[in-house]
């Protein structure tokens, strides 16, 4: 399936709120950050959202959420979070940040991110950079996948 990642619009934020497909978090509050959406090329339906915060020389994933129908065993599409994380890595290369992306995991979930994306521990955050970030981009954003 061909998907696209692009910035959310104000209209998107209204739709997100109304649709109830992204419960538990107020995405309106993320407007102050850079927010991206993942959707299929042939559809306007948003499958995943990611909010990024920029620091001097690194990027933090502040919040990421797959749509409600894409969580758990019966999810329609796999790899939504992976694609969004890889996209953050790509931005981090473009900006000259050496692909450095960090996130602050819930303690109970940290090991999952470490196992799945090969993040490394960095205080209370975990991060990826350089070669590992490029591998994530190849794995999740490569057109052949």
């Amino acid at each position: 399936m061909e998907a696209i990642i692009e910035p959310v619009t104000t209209t998107d934020l209204r739709t997100i709120k109304k649709s109830k497909r992204f419960p538990d978090f107020n995405w309106d509050k993320e407007k102050k950050n850079e927010v991206y959406k993942l959707r299929l090329l042939e559809s306007e339906a948003i499958l995943g959202l990611m909010s990024l915060v920029y620091f001097e020389n690194w990027i933090k994933i502040n919040l990421l959420q797959s749509s409600i129908e894409n969580i758990g065993e019966e999810k329609q599409y796999d790899r939504i979070a992976g694609c969004l994380i890889a996209y953050a890595c790509r931005i981090a290369f473009r900006k000259g940040f050496d692909g450095f992306v960090a996130l602050e995991p819930k303690t109970t979930l940290a090991q999952h991110y470490i196992n799945k994306y090969n993040f490394q521990i960095c205080g209370r955050h975990i991060n990826t950079e350089l070669g590992n970030s490029e591998l994530l981009i190849q794995e999740y954003l490569n057109d052949d996948q």
């Binding site: 020389n57 690194w58 933090k60 000259g96 050496d98 960095c122 205080g123 070669g131």
Partner: protein, 179 residues
């Protein structure tokens, strides 16, 4: 009801990055720790790491350009080649030797006086250890060629004269507009 489903930690992690649960001050401190770690990492980077990072920065600049529908006169093959040589911290004269290209030829490429052939594109991809694949260099050239063709008003004008008769859809367009 979907909302009532209890997901496992693995399922939650596969679909989320949750927001910080720290207090504002702890959060700031934690982010400062990352910045300190990051700055230390930058100091520890080898020249090879730095080249790799700069090459990937260039790679994704190229990708963004050739995937975009808009054209930009700045982003020519020569622009990306200059940036590539700069990113590996090499002098043009040394680079020409490394890829076995005469320095005059390289100079002509760098000054937009000549287009590269396929052999040169292959050498560039191989030199970067395929960090910038052959297809990327090729896409940049294709887009440059398209832009040059679109902007070649003289050629378009002269070639148009060779078309003895052309199809006429003006009535169809007018009819569509009047609906």
């Amino acid at each position: 009801m979907k909302r009532k489903i209890k997901h496992t930690d693995k399922e939650l992690a596969e679909a989320h990055v949750f927001p910080s649960e720290l207090s504002a001050s702890d959060k700031k401190q934690s982010e400062n720790e990352v910045t300190a770690f990051r700055n230390a990492q930058i100091k520890k980077m080898s020249e090879n790491d730095r080249s790799y990072s700069r090459i990937l920065q260039l790679k994704y600049t190229m990708e963004e350009y050739f995937k975009d529908d808009t054209y930009d006169n700045i982003y020519t093959f020569s622009y990306f080649l200059k940036e590539y040589i700069h990113s590996i911290n090499m002098k043009s004269s040394d680079f020409s030797k490394v890829i076995d290209l005469h320095s005059t030829k390289l100079s002509r490429l760098l000054n937009d006086r000549e287009k590269p052939n396929d052999k040169i594109l292959i050498r560039l991809a191989v030199h970067s250890d395929n960090s910038i694949p052959l297809s990327y260099w090729s896409c940049v050239i294709e887009k440059q060629n398209r832009l040059e063709l679109i902007n070649d008003k003289a050629l378009i004008k002269s070639e148009s004269k060779n078309v003895k008769s052309k199809l006429d859809f003006s009535s169809v367009i007018k009819r569509r507009l009047s609906i």
